[in-house]
Chain length 395, copies 2
């Protein structure tokens, strides 16, 4: 493990991460882990560059503190610059492997696996990672016939679930940034201004950050559907001007050293209808219920029930999950793909876990998003953001 | 095909797209195309939402002008709002399929394929799409044993290669936006300002757009490594303050209705070294050579040779490809994954193709990025942006 001042964590912290990963590998009889998810590359090695649009991976051998990075030749410099990896463990494939019809980068990966003596190993893969494609695995499988492939699932994602104090410190910084950006959005929005101009102001706040620390690009853009589009999740902005009487749901997310903290609030341009006010009360009552009851030892599905029970007294029930684990992210999502706050998820929550309590409700005519990023503490739970929990009204 | 005022193209244009796709399917004996790439969903149906972090697809049957969208239940509204698809052809899987250990959204997709009578069809898949994972295909393959799977490769990407006048009009709008953002970056950067504050100003310009049209989120963030990091591709900004004597490579990209136009320029804070000036002359001479010689009928590898030959007179040779096709994009890339300007790519260029001529060079101590998005015209080629082609010097 090479010292590198660009790293965001101590050598001890990286060593502890590797030890946790090795333990999880051992439990599944995995000799070598082939990581594809850029979040997991970053977590295990520090590697951080916008290179995941071409195949790349990190090979972590059980018990071996020196993983091997394989990516595009031109990205070897970035791997050296941002990680603790030794130069000899940074392998690059030539540029004519990139998006070529006649060869695949995974052939190069297979050759590295053979050259390092792992051609008969039990290799864990992230079968459902965004960045291990069907074609990539087919090449690996064909070119390494003696390998036993084991679906490692979200092995490293699950190791990431409990955050260290250093990780929590970065998440608190991201929380400061997202609060600021939300404030800018709520101050900037008004009847007659273009949606894209409000989005521009929000982006500037997310990236400029505070006077002490800046923001990074996030895994996801601000989602901020307005008016008739506000009933629909996952839409961004348009060129249209905000209309009187419309509601806008701001779902923002800030990133600090790849640690993401999301926050959502809704704004009404003019007095909201009573049905909307009722929905607001339901969402907030649900959040209050969770904040007062969530503590280590509670299960994920119990948290969902806390929210639903409180919201139910206002006649509101959410069909989709009420939240999920958060932390390191790259496109296309800031969800950690581990804990989900929904029926059937029996994960026992522990101190150091960070969750996005996400009780947004989209329904015809009354849709709101009021959410809270949470940290499970030793004795209970803490909202990472300090931002008034309500439907904002502007004109 | 349902009329929908939210669509960005005419019904005739969508019909023409489908006809081109059917022809390509027929040539490969594909009955049904299962599209995973969000660019191709958008191109074929108009569907546009940030939902691709969960499995989704569009089923295009040869000769059938009514494709079928399958995604998450909560995204059905977005599919109806943004596409021409009929309500009955928008199928949603329940939320407990999302990132669950015990079930996979592709089981739902398999059930739709069976229920519509395609369980014995020859189905084309995008085996190397970012959004068809190894795990997703495994489920499809297991649950549809009578299907003949055909790797459709980048079938729709290749249909997208020739742009229509309406597409080119949007790319010209994106070109106006990226010019403006580059101007903001070059005006804002100075010794002592934080990198993240310049990034914030650039983002605001990319999203605010012009007074006539706004920008959208792009597939990729601004890449803008500076100083010792400028020798490394694919890095973004930091919190550091710009140092005197440093060089910064701005690689920006603007998006208009998902059509992306990139542009890169370098800035030197103080007088650049002679080696850097020489590199500048090489990059610009290469671009001039391509602009004066590229015309329909020329091959992609010949374009690369045009650039290399001109740069070679300054002693510069680029190892990686010199450019690629551009158009519709979602994360993680704005490359179209079709034409590459490199040796061995014998694609014959045609009018309506749009390319990013990307002769950036990263090498120890002298790295610059001066690039041009190009449109192949009937008689030659045109730079989509009008932005001085040089290394800028600021203090």
């Amino acid at each position: 493990m090479r010292d590198n001042p660009e790293l965001h964590f101590t050598r001890e912290e990286y060593n502890a991460r590797l030890r946790h990963i090795w333990a999880a590998m051992q439990a599944r009889q995995i000799d070598l882990l082939l990581l594809s998810d850029p979040c997991n590359l970053y977590y295990a090695s520090g590697y951080d560059a916008w290179s995941f649009y071409v195949p790349q991976c990190l090979l972590v051998e059980a018990g071996n503190p020196e993983p091997v990075w394989i990516g595009r030749e031109m990205d070897r410099r970035g791997a050296y610059l941002t990680s603790y990896l030794a130069s000899g463990d940074i392998e690059g494939y030539p540029d004519d492997y990139v998006q070529a019809a006649d060869r695949h980068p995974m052939s190069f990966v297979a050759s590295v696996i053979r050259s390092r003596g792992w051609e008969g190993a039990a290799i864990g893969i992230e079968r459902n990672s965004y960045y291990l494609g069907a074609g990539a695995f087919e090449v690996l499988d064909r070119e390494l016939p003696a390998v036993t492939w084991i679906d490692a699932g979200n092995l490293v994602n699950w190791v990431r679930v409990r955050k260290s104090p250093a990780e929590i410190a970065y998440m608190r910084q991201a929380a400061r940034i997202v609060e600021r950006a939300m404030g800018v959005g709520i101050e900037t929005i008004r009847v007659g201004i273009r949606q894209c101009d409000v989005a521009a102001a929000i982006y500037a706040a997310l990236i400029s950050g505070t006077s002490e620390f800046g923001g990074q690009y996030a895994s996801s853009p601000p989602l901020m559907p307005s008016g008739s589009r506000a009933d629909t999740p996952h839409l961004s902005w348009t060129d249209e001007r905000y209309a009187a009487g419309s509601i806008t749901n701001f779902e923002l997310v800030a990133a600090r050293f790849r640690y993401h903290v999301p926050l959502a609030r809704s704004v009404s341009l003019g007095s909201p209808a009573e049905a909307v006010r009722k929905l607001e009360r339901a969402l907030v009552a649900g959040i209050d219920a969770v904040l007062s009851q969530l503590r280590p030892g509670v299960r994920a599905d119990e948290v969902e029930a806390m929210w639903q029970d409180a919201a139910q007294t206002f006649g509101v029930r959410k069909k989709a999950r009420c939240g999920y684990s958060i932390g390191i992210a790259y496109p296309p999502t800031f969800g950690e793909q581990t804990v989900s706050l929904r029926p059937g998820d029996d994960t026992v929550l522990e101190a150091g876990m960070t969750l996005h309590l996400m009780p947004a409700v989209w329904q015809e005519g009354a849709s709101l998003a009021i959410t809270e990023p949470l940290l499970v503490t030793e004795s209970g739970c803490e909202a990472l953001c300090r931002f008034e929990r309500c439907l904002f009204v502007r004109s």
